[in-house]
Point group: C2
Chain length 322, copies 2
Amino acid sequence: MAVFTPVTLDDLSQWITQFDLGKALAIKGIPSGIENTNFFITTEFGEYVLTIFENLSFEQLPFYLNLMRHLAERGVLVPAPIATHQGNLINALHGKPAAIVSKLEGSSQMEPQAVHCAAVGAMLARMHIAAENFPIRQPNLRGLAWRNETAPIVMPYLSDSNKQLLAEEMAFQNAFAESDTYHQLQNGPIHADLFRNNVMFSGDHLTGFFDFYFAGCDTWLFDVAVTVNDWCIDVETGVLDQERVRAMLDAYHHVRPFTAAEQAAWQTMLRAGALRFWLSRLYDFHLPRDAEMLTPHDPGHFERILRLRIEQATPPLFTSAG
Amino acid sequence: MAVFTPVTLDDLSQWITQFDLGKALAIKGIPSGIENTNFFITTEFGEYVLTIFENLSFEQLPFYLNLMRHLAERGVLVPAPIATHQGNLINALHGKPAAIVSKLEGSSQMEPQAVHCAAVGAMLARMHIAAENFPIRQPNLRGLAWRNETAPIVMPYLSDSNKQLLAEEMAFQNAFAESDTYHQLQNGPIHADLFRNNVMFSGDHLTGFFDFYFAGCDTWLFDVAVTVNDWCIDVETGVLDQERVRAMLDAYHHVRPFTAAEQAAWQTMLRAGALRFWLSRLYDFHLPRDAEMLTPHDPGHFERILRLRIEQATPPLFTSAG
């Protein structure tokens, strides 16, 4: 996807004077992200990431930026937001909210092995614990309410078999949200979008989670499900790879033990994780917002994953030995 | 100097549970520092530095720890204090205040060349600017008031020629502190102890300033003088190395231009920087506080530097081309 809001070096040179980062030397658009415009920027004093928020408001942003600061302060590896001289994390650029964060070392690991999945699982558990007492509450904006709004919008575009799948899954998830088991699940700020391209590795060493702009309060288990659904699968088929699943879940469980309620909810959450991304991809595919958005993700990927999570045996969340 | 307060792995294992850093795996005393006890600690999730404050009180510490956080948040390279789960930076360990900060990469550059001095000068200017609006004010605890208290205590131990030097320099510095020039100097939080062993380099790349526990509000120029007096000298003689002086001052001036008042005060501040460390070393040499403190620094080093700064031509703080 192309950059939404163009920023020239001249624009940046003026804007960056409110930070203590020295003169701007270079700016380069990052061709990724579908909600924000991102740039690598180089100043006299280092390299940073500039994000312009295309859809998020000044009211929503303190949650994301302060959550990152809260996590960084507790030793969780995430980009540290850079404050202006006056102490502000969010500042208008071309009339839109924007922020600068530190640039993580390394690159994304797009062919993760068990060792990478274990590192992600352990850091995810650390993140959940460290975020537990974060004082700002903001819901997962792609949670059940959003899904209930979005399903009818995309429904007309679907084949009959997919209409049935979506209707049944929505009913199933809405029923589960009323259950005792659901209300026993641990809840707090989650990343909610921890795909392979939102984690940096330097070799096998995890250097940080980033892109917290889908974060919100939801069940911790939903975060685990979204992460497993991306990191621990065969990308072609969506089938879970048992070795990577075990590595991620065991590493998480070692840091923050799963509960019996979470075990009971595990398959449902794997389905919920698939549903959430199937819905957003259906929406972006059938109702693209912007002509620049040329290559929407294939919704079929998460349709396959949802069907597999319904049909196939679910690996245990934890084992008695775990 | 030996570690003051012993901390075992068992002690640490219990204490560290209030942080989100996982289980403690190792602890190793760092044989340096004369005011604090420092340890490298390794947890499941990384390496950190644990500091126990031997002389500083719970009341004084928020200045240091929050200053480091303020600087880190603005992109200045300093160790980031790690908060507990509850958000506290300072916590009692064996009845003394203690803190954990991130460990900087690299090692000290004990034979600095011009390239290192330039990096230190530029970062020092960034630090001064970024700290300018730090809201907590705490004086330099080794400032003129402390010097006026300390000079009479060490005076009886000095030779006649050193008695004369100290008396004359104290009179000179007290007179200067009343001058218009002094009151025109930029003032704010300074490091105040930025010696070679308090900066990390990875190769020629500066990775951070540390040990902020002598920091306080004083003139920025005093900080520059202390730094030049350590980084830009021949260690044997104390004589300034013109190439390194020029590299450090020009790099600082490029980021934060020196003023005419600072130029007028420059020689006096170089003398003040030498005086401050001569006094503390005289005190530690003649009135050692602790039997464990076996190898006090030689006070003669800063006596030589003070005499040189009085007698020798002072390099300009900045040049018209600078």
